[in-house]
């Protein structure tokens, strides 16, 4: 646990530690912001569709899809989150895995 804690903190410190010591060119900073979005979208895709290396079934992806459509239509944040959770919970209550 200690190794995990120290290692995680070291990874998180990378940015602040480098900041101010190395002059980061504009291009690289743009790339880093782009990289963060790419990572978040990959998390979103794998989190929506997979569980433990396999498929996550139907209930979760459909819930996320409902949330995504609501977000695309610029629905309030609360509606997006509750819509996704309620859809998935509802599908599971009906026996959809």
């Amino acid at each position: 646990m200690l190794a995990l804690a120290v290692g995680t903190y070291a990874l998180r410190l990378t940015g602040p530690a480098l900041h101010g010591r190395v002059e980061i060119p504009v291009r690289v900073r743009e790339l880093l912001a782009g990289a963060a979005v790419v990572l978040l979208v990959a998390l979103l895709a794998t989190g929506a569709l997979t569980a433990g290396g396999g498929s996550a079934g139907w209930a979760r992806p459909v819930g996320v899809l409902v949330g995504g459509v609501l977000a695309w239509r610029r629905a309030p944040f609360a509606v997006v989150v509750l819509g996704a959770a309620a859809t998935t919970a509802g599908l599971r209550a009906m026996g959809v895995g």
Binding site: L4, A5, T8, P16, V26, T46, A51, A85
Partner: protein, 237 residues
């Protein structure tokens, strides 16, 4: 730090409401983390201390999952670290938001999570980004740890949290937070789509945590905006 949170320009009830909602959802996940750990046979202090010092939901779940499955502490730590490798990239992306002070940087680094980075990057200007990062970071940290403690003490009373559909809430949160960046910037959109496809394709054949890192290969289709603006003036594009 305190003065940052009182920055007068940022009185955005909608932002604070969104953050509260994500904190609340995170709290339920925290309760289930505490409950699952204790129900699986770990002593109460393990999930509680782990939440304080590791503070990374997915890594904590996978580490406890491996511990409970008899995978041993080494495998648990290695998997958790692999999962958290993305935080190095995230911390680079938010480094200039943490503030100039040494203390702010050391504290801020610990608060770097998927949600805080997404909240920060979804804001339109540097002041709002900084406020979003700190408010969501401190809020999530407090709620997460209190809820893990509550879950650990309550044990298994909550039942299976999948019933509530919370596993769908988190990807939906990420979708809502990255959509503005995706709408605004076609290069980032292309890179993100390619990256997500790579991550999905490699999920069945690589260890947990690796697919998301492989998604960075999607950046091969990324090009800097010709005028050299974007991230530099505080936007995600």
């Amino acid at each position: 730090m305190r003065s940052l949170l009182r920055t007068p320009q940022v009185r955005d009830p909608a932002l604070f409401r969104d953050i509260s909602l994500v904190c609340a959802a995170g709290g339920v996940v925290g309760v289930s983390f505490g409950a699952i750990s204790v129900a699986g046979g770990l002593p109460v202090w393990v999930p509680v201390v782990m939440s304080l010092v590791v503070y990374a939901g997915a890594a904590q779940f996978s580490a406890v999952g491996i511990l409970l499955a008899g995978g041993g502490p080494f495998a648990a730590a290695a998997t958790g670290l692999l999962l958290n490798t993305r935080n190095a990239a995230f911390s680079l992306a938010v480094a200039d938001l943490l503030g100039p002070g040494r203390a702010a940087r050391f504290v801020g680094a610990h608060l770097v999570t998927d949600e805080t980075v997404a909240f920060a990057l979804a804001q339109s200007d540097p002041v709002r980004r900084r406020v979003a990062f700190w408010v969501s970071g401190l809020g999530m940290f407090a709620v997460w740890n209190v809820c893990v403690l509550a879950g650990a003490l309550a044990g298994t009373a909550l039942g299976d949290t999948a019933t509530y559909g919370l596993d769908a809430a988190f990807p939906a949160v990420l979708a809502a937070l990255v959509l503005p960046a995706l709408r605004e910037s076609p290069p980032v959109r292309r890179a993100a789509l390619l990256g997500a496809a790579i991550a999905l394709a490699t999920t069945p054949v690589t260890p947990t945590g690796v697919p998301v890192l492989l998604a960075l290969a999607g950046l091969v289709v990324w090009r800097a905006s010709p005028e050299g603006k974007g991230a530099a003036d505080g936007r995600v594009s």
